[in-house]
């Protein structure tokens, strides 16, 4: 593992650089999946369940098939493909063996249907209007079943069992058990503690709401499928498609040139990909399947809602003695991802116990959304701890500095540690001592208050691949399997190559987003691309430099080709990125309205590869977090199980008028690992933003808001 060169020697890395594809994105030339048009292409639409839980008694597709222009209708009767990534026992989506043994299989079309909006049928027709007309001609008879929407309620004995095994999701061994973490003895810890506090926090379903709705164009040439689809990981999408369709990986090509965001709900393959592929196979024509915004809201996935019970024991000097979480995550009726609740790991405490139940409900399916298990758990535990600090009559920062993590799970050392520096420098920049006051001390109609939060988030190393070709014209072509979800991966990969090769960025070309052209990449999820694929680019560049030293520069038709598939390790240490957020809010005590006046986000994500885009990442993450704290929710009608707020307006997604100025401060530390010392950044901004807003509201009005989103009605209720 080489050490990082000194900052001053870097020519490209560390310098603010506009995206290499920015011009395509501002001129309308960037080709997103929905812009792909193939000759003779059919259009597809999906009929979705109008019931939250129902047995399908009969489907009549004859009238739809009789409509001129309709080519094919798929239902659960003629299509029994399992969507592996749609529901995996224990959320362990990457393990094929577990997918084989699971008893809770999710088919592309299921009977019974288990949530409002679940696919019931799909139509392919010569144009989208005919496909939409055909949906109206499909007759479905349902026998409605009882439903349950809340994750705690779902575990009551009288609640309907959504699966025969019950409503606790089965784990990798097909056992209905919660995820448990323990160290020390919490009961002993509570006995020793001078004070014990208990409370309950809840968070809601927040949709990823990426701007580009789900779309897929599928085309077969013989036995080979080509899929133009917005995916965060071309490699894992290809593998999932091949496994679900029972064909070898090399018989699937996944292409994603530009994608309009995803924040976690465009990873893996999606049911839309399978439906388009099957319609195209059976009709013999290319098929474009487009989801409407409402379908995307209820038919893809959003962040899992949680209920969190905390019990905290502290000694009279404010030191944690015991920490216990009992949590429930609402997964919808299929467990697409883990359902974890993070945050316990933030505290140094000898006695810890976390028990989290992933629970089935008849709501929209939950899954990964930017830092999947973090913002909801961090809101819960950091609100809880902020409250403990208040009750112990301590400044929240003093409490955090006394109790925050110093080693991973109190045991394993971090690869480096700058959490305290993040907090202290952020407090200075924010002028914490000036802005924070005794909670509730402000008593006017407009009340100001300040809050803070902090974070650690995984920044692991891992396997990825890159190829670099040098031709006789001096062009360096980098082949990487990234798709650039919007975080700037293409630019970062090019910058890394230019830096390591010692050439200007303009000498580097990039080939990306195509499984037939590019090597494996981990994909843009888990904030891993820079660390993993970026490291592979460095290794490939080193290989190329060695070849140049041995063979000289290529001439004529010759080219040099270098490749690397490194799998670096962090040598028994835990790599984490660190951060601290500080928010000042203003609460209108008469209207319940919250405005964010000032927001300072301090992050140590190691070396910042491109300050321009990294700053945008943090600003965007924080702003999404503010939306989660204050507005966003998918509200359900409790009797029918119908979502009422599916869409941008209803779910109250942040707009220009809601977004405050976010000040971003980077502390760049080198831990000796990762490409030029980089750590993760993509998810870091949202992780603790919700908690900072919640704590600032408490400081403002002296009332602890325990249920997200913190809407006006809740604030007025708390002040009443």
């Amino acid at each position: 593992m080489s050490r990082i060169p000194a900052l001053g020697s870097l020519k490209t890395i560390g310098h603010s650089t506009p995206r290499i594809d920015a011009i395509e994105r501002v001129t309308g030339k960037a080709t997103y999946s929905g812009d792909v048009h193939l000759t003779g292409m059919l259009y597809a639409r999906i009929l979705r369940s109008p019931h939250a839980h129902a047995q399908i008694r009969r489907i009549d597709i004859s009238k739809a098939l009789a409509l001129p222009g309709v080519k094919l209708v798929l239902t659960h009767e003629n299509c029994t493909v399992v969507w592996g990534a749609g529901s995996v026992s224990g959320g362990r989506q990457y393990v094929d063996e577990i997918k084989k043994i699971t008893r809770q299989k999710r088919y592309v079309f299921n009977n019974p249907v288990r949530f409002f909006g679940e696919p019931v049928a799909a139509v392919a027709a010569t144009n989208r209007h005919i496909a939409e007309e055909a949906l109206k001609l499909i007759t479905v008879e349902y026998d409605a079943l009882p439903l349950v929407l809340d994750q705690e309620e779902a575990l009551r004995p009288e609640s309907v069992k959504i699966w025969p095994d019950g409503n606790i999701s089965l784990d990798a061994k097909n056992e209905a058990k919660p995820e448990v973490y323990r160290r020390g003895d919490v009961e002993e810890g509570f006995r020793k503690a001078d004070h014990v506090f208990e409370d309950r926090y809840t968070t809601t379903y927040v949709h990823n709401a990426q701007m580009e709705p789900r779309v897929c164009v599928a085309s077969w040439e013989g036995d080979k499928l080509t899929l133009y689809t917005p995916t965060q990981g071309t490699s894992n999408c290809r593998h999932d498609m091949a496994r679900d369709l029972g064909i070898p990986d090399e018989k699937v090509r996944v292409v994603c040139q530009y994608m309009g965001g995803g924040f976690g709900n465009k990873n893996q393959n999606q049911d839309a990909d399978l439906i388009a592929a099957m319609l195209a196979k059976e009709t013999g024509s290319p098929v474009k399947l487009e989801l409407s915004r409402k379908e995307d809201f209820i038919g893809v996935h959003g962040r899992w809602p949680t209920t969190q019970y905390y019990k905290v024991g502290v000694s009279s000097d404010g030191v944690l003695q015991a920490l216990q979480l009992r949590g429930y995550s609402g997964m919808g009726p299929y467990r697409k991802n883990s359902g974890g609740i993070a945050g316990i790991e933030l505290y140094q405490c000898p006695n810890v116990e976390s028990t989290v139940y992933p629970v089935y409900t008849n709501r929209a399916v939950s899954g990964n959304y930017r830092a999947p298990e973090f913002p909801q758990g961090f809101f819960g535990i950091q609100s809880m701890m902020d409250d403990v600090a208040y009750k112990m009559k301590m400044d929240p920062i003093e409490f955090v500095l006394k109790n925050m993590t110093r080693r991973s799970n109190d045991e394993v050392p971090y690869s480096n540690y700058t959490l305290e520096e993040c907090i202290r420098s952020g407090a200075d920049a924010f002028e914490w001592k000036k802005r924070w006051h005794a909670p509730g001390a402000d008593s006017g109609a407009i009340r100001r208050g300040a809050g803070m939060s902090f974070m650690t988030i995984r920044s692991p190393l891992g396997q990825s691949s890159a190829v670099i070709r040098l031709d006789s014209n001096g062009r360096y072509t980098v082949f990487v399997g990234v798709t650039d979800i919007g975080a700037g991966a293409k630019t970062t990969m090019s910058m890394i190559a230019a830096e390591e090769l010692g050439v200007p960025l303009s000498d580097v070309d990039l080939v990306w987003g195509d499984t037939d052209r590019c090597p494996y990449s981990v994909g843009e999820s888990g904030s891993r691309t820079t660390d993993m694929t970026g490291y592979a680019v460095i290794e490939a560049a080193r290989d190329l430099k060695r070849q140049i030293a041995e063979k000289g520069l290529p001439k004529g038709e010759n080219a040099l080709i270098a490749s690397a598939s490194p799998n670096p390790k962090s040598e028994g240490k835990v790599r984490k990125a660190f951060g601290a957020h500080f928010a000042e809010v203003e609460v209108d005590a008469e209207l319940g309205r919250v405005r964010v006046l000032k927001y300072v986000a301090v992050h140590d994500s190691g070396r910042i590869m491109n300050p321009l885009t990294a700053t945008s990442q943090v600003k965007g993450g924080v702003t999404q977090g503010i939306g989660m704290a204050l507005h966003e929710d998918l509200v359900y009608d409790r009797s029918s199980g119908q979502p009422l707020t599916a869409g941008y307006y209803g779910a109250r997604i942040m707009t220009h008028l809601d977004a405050p100025e976010i000040e971003v401060i980077f502390i760049e530390s080198d831990d000796g690992y990762g490409p030029f010392g980089a750590k993760c950044i993509g998810e870091a901004g949202i992780v603790h933003a919700v908690a900072a807003i919640g704590n600032a509201i408490f400081n403002s009005i002296g009332r602890r808001m325990k249920d997200l989103p913190i809407t006006r009605d809740k604030i007025l209720g708390a002040l009443a």
């Binding site: 920015a22 395509e24 309308g28 030339k29 080709t31 109008p50 080509t226 915004r293 307006y649 109250r652």
Partner: protein, 245 residues
């Protein structure tokens, strides 16, 4: 649009998607060598579908077309004129990704029927640059990192263009208010506002308006649907969104 390519083979398309893109650093050089990977689909009107002959000007070029009455303007632009720079994010007037200028005013093209644009003038993101010369707004969006995923960018640009045409030197709040109907889920709002203010500070931004070079036809058929941009200063809890399909 006389030279527009109506059909493209799949093979041509595949070659297109594999093309490498020169790594451009900052600077206005426009890479026009990119193959058109998004050809017009077909302007065939479905048999039996009610349709109307219209005449409209798009980015300075006049089109006489037979359009199905149910086509939205967004659909006409994307599927039948090959202008896929206009994106459809929600198709129901909530997100603003499909914003275009209709007679100089920003409108949601998903919420205007194509037949309503008869006799009118449309400007899309493809009409912003002059050849290889980016509009100052586009240049500012590049330099200030406006687009993250880029899917809302065309709409943000067109709303900003509409604003600067009428108000060449807006305040930050005026920018936010004018673009409140353009959602960016990457939430790069700070950057977009910075970029619009930076573009407004450059002199030539207003000079580039009215580059279409065609007088706007005066006939207007059908209902006038003006800019549907909502101002969402006040939020309503538990708003019920559109009904179930």
């Amino acid at each position: 649009m006389g030279k527009r390519k109506r059909y493209i083979s799949r093979r041509q398309f595949l070659e297109g998607t594999g093309a490498v893109i020169a790594a451009a650093t900052a600077g206005p050089a426009l890479n026009l060598k990119l193959p058109a990977a998004n050809p017009p689909a077909t302007d065939d009107v479905a048999p039996g579908a009610p349709s109307t002959a219209i005449r409209l000007v798009v980015n300075g070029t006049e089109h006489r077309l037979e359009v199905e009455d149910r086509w939205t303007l967004a659909e006409l632009l994307r599927d039948h004129l090959g202008l896929t720079g206009t994106k459809i994010g929600c198709d129901r007037g909530e997100c603003g990704a499909c914003t275009v200028l209709l007679d100089g005013n920003p409108v949601y093209s998903c919420s205007n029927l194509a037949v309503w644009t008869d006799g009118r003038e449309v400007q899309t993101v493809e009409g912003l640059a002059h050849g290889e010369q980016l509009d100052p707004l586009q240049q500012a969006f590049v330099e200030h990192d406006g687009p993250q995923c880029g899917f809302c960018t065309s709409g943000q640009l067109m709303s900003a263009k509409g604003l600067l045409t009428h108000n060449p030197h807006p305040t930050a709040h005026e920018v936010q208010a004018a673009m409140a109907g353009n959602i960016c889920r990457c939430s790069n709002y700070n950057r977009y506002v910075e970029a619009v203010l930076a573009a407004a500070a450059t002199k030539d931004v207003t000079a580039s308006k009215g580059n279409l070079g065609h007088s706007t036809a005066s006939t207007k058929l059908g209902p006038e649907v003006s800019a549907t941009k909502r101002r969402r200063n006040s939020r309503v809890s538990d708003t019920v969104a559109g009904g179930a399909r």
